[in-house]
């Protein structure tokens, strides 16, 4: 019988929540009290909302504890380890009994994330123990040809998980068919969408699955060199990748005649991105790897024809690569059993925004958005009304509540005007102003435009100015038409995806929330009460106690009233800063 294991989740999210201290505490207790258990590390299992997470596996089974701060750690060690009494009220998941969060994990199908939260990402042995590098060995051992590998990937129906949704097998085939003796493989880990952290979690939690995927890809297309282009803002991911690459090299998974395949030489390195969002675009990414300013260029030629250093190059994103070993090992059919007719397998989403259980989930394609938000995500906090969900980050669009039964599938999502994207899912409730949301995303893309194309550089700036003006109550008749017209032109006249999709949040919000725009423009009102310039602050005479706090805090002295008298706001002078509202202890400030 094996030793009791205590595993602490040490992904970025866990560390941010204090898992480092938790780990230290446990370790301290272990040595000071000479406790006999194995203390291990793992990464994020996806329940970011419950971090720090500590899993205890003893002979009875597995118990995942949530929100384990130092105090709780002492409690768990004391009760569970020393006294063998699991602290049931702190368990968020267990295979022994029902927990409130059971649904969160049970609804998921983990393929890309199969090892995240289950292994120590810094240990190649643990990866190998869970069938890691088996696919590669299988290819070598059984002499599976390049064409066969490509065929399997093609048959699995796997499509690019970076957002483009291009069939991965087809992309590989183009690169494979190019006779060039020199080819490259790139892993795009330049995750940049606000609210997205799929790649980070995957790289932190299971770097080897990505590396193995790349090695298989390299074999399939005939590449000799690989690059992982990772954001410099992901230091933990980079560190773990470095460790993993070294380990893989040591074990001969990288290098010469890999897996016993004669003539298959392949190695890879990490290139840290400088933080430009546009470098997620493949031609800009290639320019950046080459040491140039990350600026996209016109395609064709596609990278499969002329990519890094002018050589045929295959680029896939982190999640796509992580799926590869599983597909090779389990076969195309096993993968294709999940999903819809045209979108096979699973998809990882990062749930963020106004949602109870924010975190990382992997679901089979075909699940409805409503299920993701309500079954997995647990719905909206404080029982507010669900309004919309932003899919695909700044390149995507808003799907309104009434379309929440849309299934997750490339074509169904595209039909709404949003895009699948790389998996960012930002949930909004009734307190979100959709004009403000559009403005937020456009502000992002506008700032992240590389500045090359006229329409993207100046056009998005002009759109932003119009949106800002609308949220400031300066909207004019014709603004919506101007926005739509500019949007269409920007989409038509930009070299890369950034510009071509930048207007999407604006277009979808106009499409689904036109009345909200019109309220801003015509009635000078913000229905969600977010746009400050459009709010009117008044004092409820019923509630005002005349405490004078609001008057004292008002930066423009526009609130008058004697002590213990009902106060009054001078609407002419009010600058709508909201200071009074946040200061009033009697809820006497009304916002309209």
């Amino acid at each position: 019988m094996s030793k009791t294991q205590v595993i602490v989740g040490l992904g970025s999210c866990g560390i941010a929540a204090g898992a480092g201290k938790t780990f230290e505490k446990i370790s301290q207790l272990q040595s000071s009290e000479s406790l006999d258990f194995e203390l291990k590390k793992t990464s994020c299992v996806g329940m970011c909302y419950n971090e720090p997470l500590v899993e205890v596996i003893d002979e009875s089974g597995s118990y995942l504890y949530g929100g384990v701060d130092e105090e709780r750690a002492i409690q768990i060690i004391d009760k569970h380890i020393v006294n063998h009494e699991p602290v049931r009220e702190l368990v968020v998941r267990s295979d022994l009994f029902e927990t409130a969060d059971k649904e969160f994990l049970d609804t998921q199908v983990k393929i890309a994330l199969r090892n995240c939260g289950f292994i120590d990402p810094e240990s190649i042995e643990e990866y190998e123990a869970r069938q890691g590098y088996l696919s590669l060995k299988q290819i070598g051992g059984e002499g599976i040809s390049q064409e066969e590998v490509i065929r399997t990937v093609l048959d699995s129906g796997l499509r690019g998980r970076g957002g483009g949704g291009f069939p991965t097998g087809m992309k590989w085939r183009f690169a494979f068919k190019n006779p060039s003796p020199e080819k490259y493989i790139i892993c795009n880990a330049d995750e940049g969408d606000p609210g997205a952290f799929m790649d980070r979690s995957l790289l932190e939690g299971d770097p080897h699955s990505v590396i193995e995927g790349m090695i298989i890809g390299a074999y399939a297309i005939g590449a000799t060199s690989g690059v992982i282009y990772c954001r410099a803002e992901y230091p933990l991911a980079i560190k773990r990748l470095e460790i993993a690459i070294d380990q893989a090299r040591e074990k001969g998974y990288l290098g010469k005649n890999i897996a016993g395949i004669q003539g298959f030489h392949f190695d890879m390195y990490i290139k840290e991105g400088a933080g430009a969002f546009v470098c997620g675009e493949e031609t800009a990414l290639i320019a950046s790897v080459e040491g140039e300013r990350g600026m996209p260029r016109k395609r064709p030629p596609f990278p499969a024809e002329s990519g890094l250093w002018g050589k045929p190059t295959n680029i896939n994103n982190v999640e796509t690569w992580a799926n590869i070993p599983w597909i090779i090992q389990h076969g195309a059919e096993a993968y294709a059993q999940y999903g819809t007719e045209k979108s096979k397998g699973t998809k990882v989403f990062a749930l963020a925004g106004k949602i109870k259980r924010s975190g990382l989930v992997e679901v089979p394609m075909g699940i409805t958005i409503r299920d993701i938000i309500f079954k997995l995500g647990g719905g909206i906090p404080q029982n507010k009304k669900f309004k919309a969900v932003q899919l695909g980050g700044p390149s995507g669009g808003c799907i309104p509540e009434y379309l929440a039964d849309t299934i997750v599938d490339y074509d169904s999502v595209n039909a709404t005007g949003a895009i699948m994207g790389s998996g960012g899912m930002v949930v909004m409730d009734e307190t979100t102003c959709m004009v403000d949301v559009a403005r937020f995303f456009l502000d992002f893309t506008q700032k992240e435009s590389c500045g090359k194309c006229t329409f993207c550089r100046i056009g998005t700036k002009r759109m932003l100015e119009i949106l800002t003006r609308i949220t400031e109550g300066e909207g004019q008749e014709g603004d919506l038409e101007l926005l739509q017209d500019l949007s269409e032109q920007i989409k038509d006249n930009s070299l890369c995806g950034l510009g071509q999709t930048a207007p999407n949040p604006v277009l979808t919000t106009i499409r689904y929330f036109r009345d909200e725009y019109e309220a801003h423009i015509r009635d000078k009102k913000c229905p969600a009460k977010v746009c400050k310039a459009l709010l009117t602050y008044t004092i409820d005479p019923e509630k005002c106690t005349g405490c004078t706090v609001c008057a004292k805090k008002c930066p423009v002295d526009c609130i008058s009233g004697e002590r213990k008298q009902i106060h009054l706001i001078d609407q002419e002078a009010c600058i709508r800063c909201g200071e009074c509202y946040s200061r009033c202890r009697f809820e006497a400030i009304l916002i309209q």
Binding site: K447, K452, C453, I458
Partner: protein, 1228 residues
């Protein structure tokens, strides 16, 4: 054979080439697609999105520049969607283009006079050209320069500085016009061919005169009918002489009649002139009748005697020619305009005791010129502001005795923006006066309507409700299609400059009418204005410009004004005017005539404010002495960045920031000076706007220039240049599509080395030494002196030197002067003096410039290629970028300047021994190319045997510090490379080193193969010509062997025999053998490495003649100086280092009567040798001498050891020396 693709372009089936872009295809088929970010020298980039087209089946629109053709593509280059998109792209760009296309002065001028343009010409002393610019839009500059109300000066941005004093625009205009009139040859516009159409103009005031001017220019016959006995209208009859002398006015009238316009006086329409008659004779009519009738006060009692309309008062004096006698009288002038000023100041001059000006507002609101008010005060005028006459009081005789006035106060602003005066109740007071002059307005009298309309004409001539002629405000066409109207008669009383502007418009419409075209307003040019972005305020200008006080107008002292002499005296001289021009801030864009953005904006009717919003403001960067960066005008096409990277290789520029904040800036450090910038100006050449321009040393205008082509006179590459000049003053230089520089590339010499053309200290006449001074003598006298000197000594005591800057024709003539004239073979050049014979074959079998782009390896020997022969460097860098060509540098310099753009640098001490060692290694290891050697019979065995006898180690040691691996690596690379070119600089390699380099090329089999062989870099544009033209005691022209061909040459020249003896010129100089030295176009003293030595040679001679463009250290020693011409001023040819002969015509007007060939012909004639008189004849004679057989086969030549050293820098040329000094100084 390129693959052909079937393409449908705008519905037409055509063939495209595989790999071609839509833009390239369209250009091939003459389908115009606008673009801003494309430059054929660079890889397509696609950022501007102006070149978009629609391609069937492709999402969105496609940038034509980077979309490659595919089989079956259907392309539409011009449809509504495409046009809309292009316009939007341009609208977006101009919404963030914080700049002024034209200056506010020009924009505010009703006639649109190009102020900035003429100020720039005045700066250069080009007054006639300035008047030419003014007369584009204003035919009366001398008049306007005196009496214009100057809206330009109100708009002048200099007002934001120097305590609000604008540039003296009008003073400058007057100065230029007066200078032109005084020149004896005043400007006469070029007129179009006569059209046979005739136009009658009614009225010879400013409107009528201007209309006549503009119509004559268009080729129409303009006849003016004037009711008065003289021309000028109110200019003559309203403005007193002390402001506008009649003779000045008359000179400008005469300038118009000289153009062919007629003026018939004392003809008044409707009285003694009838429209019915005019109609028969003329095709159109322009009514420029003015506002003739003065109005009175509109106050009670104004019928009293002594109350006059001011304008009638002035006119009567002019007509009668008699001065009124106001002595002992008090005069009140009512009004605040310029007529009031003329009345009050005239009254003073008529002797009035007291003159009042009564004006109902304050001085601030007065429409009169402030200077007039100022002068009137000096002359003793008393002002009664906020005062209005209410009633004129007459005495018993009905004569004025006093006027009752009311005090006023200012109320709310009225329609004119001025505060309306309101009477103060009970403020009445009386002033005693004898005379009242009402200067408060005029009225149009159109009393000929019946005469016109009753003539049976179609349509109707009408007046509007103010009594002015009714005409379409946009075309000035009246109700009768053939009748146009302009000036005060249409607008009511206005200004001179408005009348001129109106006449221009009416003439334009009239011209369209006469040409049978639709009469429509001229298309307004697209103009971006900073004022439309935001109000311009002083703080943005202060500190950016040097403060400089305005040059005020000198005037007659107040005490000397009791007469009608002109009060304003004009600027005192050219220096004053020039100084004032420096105050011009040059608000308008220097690239106005060149800007691609403006061109497309105009074509697509772009709007600056359609996408108005935030715009970026940047400080202009002037820190680089030659290159100016103005990010305000940048459209981020990246062309500058790309050309600097892909072609120049300096990588000096880059993008900073992202999104809307993106801008272009020097890649490293703050200033371009801190980068690898080579100051080549290639960024300027590619900028489609004016974001990167030349940092001009003078005011560039901009003005319209002539564009003439010439061949660069600096290095030996032979680039064609386009000189943009105004009557010989070169404003800028651009690369042209030359025979050599096919892609328009030029370097800093060509681009910035044009200053000498504009220098004023040229030698233009022969100068004979007269003690310490120079005496100008005639050319004939000079030729005679030279001939006498030549004849006075023994033939071989004469020596002749020709410079490598001279044309082939000039060089040939110098040589002929020596051999046929002076009968000596002492003909040579300082350029090659003492440097052996090895260079004569430098140019043979050289690879063409474009072949560099096809080479696998290029090796440079002698390293300053990026400075001295940059265009070759561009070709090499581009090959590195496009083809991956490997560049190796072999250099004796520690820092080559090529570190950042080469693959390999081999540092050595000595080229000759390095090459010997390499050749030795190749031969001793059997690495030579036998195949080539066997088929070329190049004397291989002899060469090998001799070389292998020499000691490799010795050569290796003397070659210098490079390690053996480097040397051997080079030897192996050069033997094995598929294609390799050896580029070398004669300046740094000795003649024998060059021979060994040739030997290397031969033993490795590189000669005669594409993208293989030698590329020579010579110091001067026509260095090679010296060899070909026989400037060598041992060589005859065309490389003829002396021994074999001396008879043939003598016969061709028509002389008995050629001189036999050939001596060494260097020893001749050392030994002081030459009693006469004649130097044509070289500056051996100024360019000498050891000056004293060279100076001593020349001092040994009894007589030194030097021909050059400017005075220099060599001319300083001369006894006789001849003036020289620039290559760009003459006809002739240069032979470049590739031995390409390029013939050219004069690009600039000559500044010297006798050019080089003519001078030499003159000297030869004086020596009794007749014949050649022109470059063309010289060329013909050279061709007659050309050998019949082809060039001798290349053969290996052993060299005994290294030879002569270089004695001169700068190719021994004063011009090159000057540019290099100026360049160094600029960066110091």
């Amino acid at each position: 054979m390129t693959e052909q693709l079937n393409i449908i372009l705008n519905g037409k089936a055509i063939k495209g080439k595989a790999g071609e872009s839509i833009l390239e295809l369209s250009r091939r088929f003459n389908v115009d697609i606008p673009t801003l970010c494309y430059d054929p020298r660079l890889d397509p980039y696609s950022s501007c999105f102006v070149c978009v087209v629609e391609v069937e089946g492709m999402r969105g629109l496609q940038p034509a520049c980077s979309t490659r053709l595919a089989e079956g593509m259907k392309i539409w280059t011009e449809n509504e969607r495409v046009r809309k998109s292009r316009k939007s792209a341009i609208d977006l760009m101009v919404s963030n283009h914080y700049a002024d296309c034209v200056a506010p002065c020009q924009q505010s001028c009703p006639a649109g006079v190009d102020v900035q343009g003429y100020i720039s010409l005045i700066e250069k002393g080009m007054y006639k050209e300035a008047v030419e610019v003014i007369k584009e839009t204003n035919p009366l500059p001398a008049v306007c320069g005196r009496v214009c109300v100057r809206p330009c000066e109100l708009a002048c941005r200099r007002k934001l500085l120097d305590e609000g004093a604008p540039v003296g625009i009008d003073y400058l205009k007057r100065f230029a016009a007066d200078m032109d009139l005084a020149s004896g040859d005043p400007y006469m516009p070029r007129m179009e061919a006569p059209t046979g159409k005739k136009v009658a103009i009614i009225g010879a005031g400013p409107g009528g005169l201007s209309a006549a001017f503009f119509l004559q220019k268009k080729g129409h016959q303009a006849d003016i009918y004037e009711a008065a006995p003289a021309a000028g209208g109110w200019l003559r009859y309203g403005i007193p002489e002390y402001r506008l002398p009649n003779d000045v006015l008359q000179q400008e009238v005469d300038a118009i009649t000289r153009m062919g316009a007629n003026i018939y006086y004392n003809k008044k329409l409707g009285e003694n002139l009838h429209y019915a008659d005019l109609r028969k004779e003329y095709d159109a009519l322009v009514l420029a009748i003015g506002s003739q009738k003065g109005t009175l006060l509109g106050a009670e009692g104004e019928e009293a005697e002594g109350v006059y309309s001011g304008i009638d008062f002035l006119k009567e004096m002019e007509v009668s020619g008699e001065r009124k006698d106001f002595r002992g009288k008090k005069v009140a002038v009512v009004g605040g305009g310029n007529t009031a000023m003329d009345c009050c100041r005239t009254s003073v001059r008529c002797g009035a005791d007291k003159v009042y000006v009564i004006y109902r507002r304050t001085e601030k609101e007065m429409p009169a010129n402030p200077i007039e008010i100022h002068e009137s005060k000096l002359e003793g005028i008393e002002y009664l502001f906020l005062t209005n006459p209410k009633k004129v009081n007459a005495d018993e005789n009905g004569r004025v005795k006093s006027v009752t006035c009311l005090k006023m106060e200012l109320g709310a602003p009225d329609a004119s923006g001025r505060r309306r005066p309101v009477p103060m109740e009970g403020s009445d007071f009386d002033i005693e006066v004898d005379i009242i002059l009402a200067a408060i307005g005029q009225k149009t009298v159109a009393d000929f309507l019946e005469d016109v309309n009753g003539s049976g004409v179609e349509g109707e001539l009408k007046v509007n409700r103010w009594g002015d002629l009714d005409a379409d405000s946009k075309t000035l066409q009246t109700g009768v299609a053939s009748i146009f109207a302009a000036g005060d008669g249409v607008t009511g009383p206005a200004t001179l400059i408005e009348a001129i502007g109106q006449a221009k418009l009416a003439s334009h419409s009239c011209h369209l009418y006469l040409s049978g075209m639709e009469v429509k307003p001229p298309k307004a040019p697209f103009i971006i204005s900073r004022d439309r972005f935001k109000e311009q305020k002083p703080d943005a200008y202060q500190g950016q410009f040097v403060p400089q006080e305005r040059e005020e107008m000198p005037t007659l002292p107040a005490g000397e004004r009791m007469n009608f002499k002109e009060v304003e005296l004009g600027y005192a001289g050219e220096e004053v005017a020039k100084h004032e021009t420096h105050r011009c801030l040059e608000c308008g864009c220097s690239e106005y005539f060149e800007c691609d953005l403006k061109r497309v904006a105009e074509a697509y009717e772009a709007e600056q404010t359609r996408y108005g919003g935030e715009f970026k403001e940047y400080q202009v960067d002037f820190r680089h002495p030659y290159i100016e960066i103005d990010n305000n005008k940048c459209i981020l096409c990246g062309r500058c960045i790309r050309i600097c990277k892909e072609v120049v290789g300096a990588n000096a520029l880059g993008f900073i920031n992202r999104g809307f904040e993106t801008y272009v800036a020097p890649a490293m450090g703050e200033s371009l000076r801190d980068t690898h910038c080579e100051s080549c100006g290639m960024c300027i050449s590619t900028c489609p706007t004016a974001a990167i321009t030349e940092n001009f040393l003078f005011k560039p205008g901009p003005v319209k220039t002539d564009k003439d082509k010439t061949i660069c006179h600096y290095c030996s590459v032979g680039c064609e240049l386009e000189l943009n000049h105004k009557n010989g003053f070169v404003m800028r230089v651009k690369g042209s599509n030359g025979l050599i520089n096919k892609n328009t590339n030029i370097c800093r010499y060509g681009k910035f080395g044009y200053q000498p053309y504009n220098q004023k200290d040229r030698i233009t006449q022969p100068l004979l030494r007269d003690g310490d001074k120079w005496k100008e003598i005639s050319f004939e006298e000079a030729f005679g002196i030279i001939a006498d000197k030549v004849k006075a000594v023994k033939a071989d005591e004469n020596a002749f030197f020709a410079g490598a800057r001279l044309t082939n024709e000039e060089q040939y003539m110098v040589q002929k002067l020596a051999r046929a004239g002076a009968r000596t073979n002492n003909a040579g050049s300082f350029h090659y003096l003492g440097r052996g014979e090895g260079y004569s074959q430098s140019s043979q079998q050289n690879v063409p410039l474009e072949a560099l782009g096809k080479a696998d390896q290029i090796w440079i020997m002698g390293t300053r290629i990026q400075d001295e022969h940059a265009v070759v460097g561009f070709e090499i860098q581009n090959a590195r970028v496009k083809r991956g060509t490997r560049l190796g540098v072999i250099s004796t310099e520690g820092i080559t300047g090529l570190e950042h753009k080469s693959e390999d640098i081999v540092r050595i001490n000595d080229y000759y021994h390095f090459l010997k060692a390499v050749n030795h290694y190749i031969l001793s290891n059997g690495l030579e190319n036998r195949m080539w050697l066997d088929s070329n019979e190049a004397g291989f065995e002899a060469y090998r045997d001799q070389l292998l006898e020499e000691d490799f180690d010795d050569h290796f040691e003397r070659a210098g510090s490079c390690c053996v691996d480097h040397l051997l690596g080079f030897a192996r690379d050069i033997s094995k490379a598929e294609s390799a070119v050896l580029v070398f600089s004669e300046k740094e390699l000795t003649a024998n080193a060059v021979i060994e380099l040739h030997n290397l090329a031969m033993i490795t089999g590189r000669l005669g193969k594409t993208a293989n062989g030698i590329f020579a870099l010579k110091e001067k544009n026509n260095s090679h010509g010296l060899h070909d033209m026989g400037l060598d005691p041992l060589l005859l022209p065309a490389g003829l062997s002396f021994r074999e061909h001396k008879g043939f040459v003598a016969k061709t020249w028509g002389i008995d025999a050629l001189p036999e003896k050939s001596s060494n010129l260097l020893s001749g100089l050392n030994d002081g053998i030459f009693r006469n030295i004649f130097i044509f176009g070289e500056d051996p003293v100024g360019c000498a490495i050891h000056k004293d030595e060279v100076q001593a040679w020349l001092e040994k001679a009894d007589f030194l003649m030097v021909q050059d463009i400017f005075h220099n250290e060599t001319t300083a020693l001369a006894d006789l100086i001849l003036p020289a011409s620039f290559g760009a001023e003459v006809e002739g040819s240069f032979t470049n280092a590739q031995r390409v002969i390029q013939q050219f015509s004069p690009a600039l007007p000559p500044k010297i009567i006798f050019d080089g060939v003519a001078q030499l012909a003159g000297i030869l004639k004086a020596l009794g040798v007749n014949g050649i008189t022109s470059p063309e004849e010289a060329r013909e004679e050279i061709f007659r001498l050309l050998p019949q057989q082809g060039t001798a086969k290349a053969s290996l030549k052993p060299t005994p050891g290294d030879d002569g050293t270089r004695l001169f820098d700068y190719g021994c040329d004063d011009l090159t020396r000057r540019f290099e000094m100026a360049f160094r100084e600029a960066f110091a």
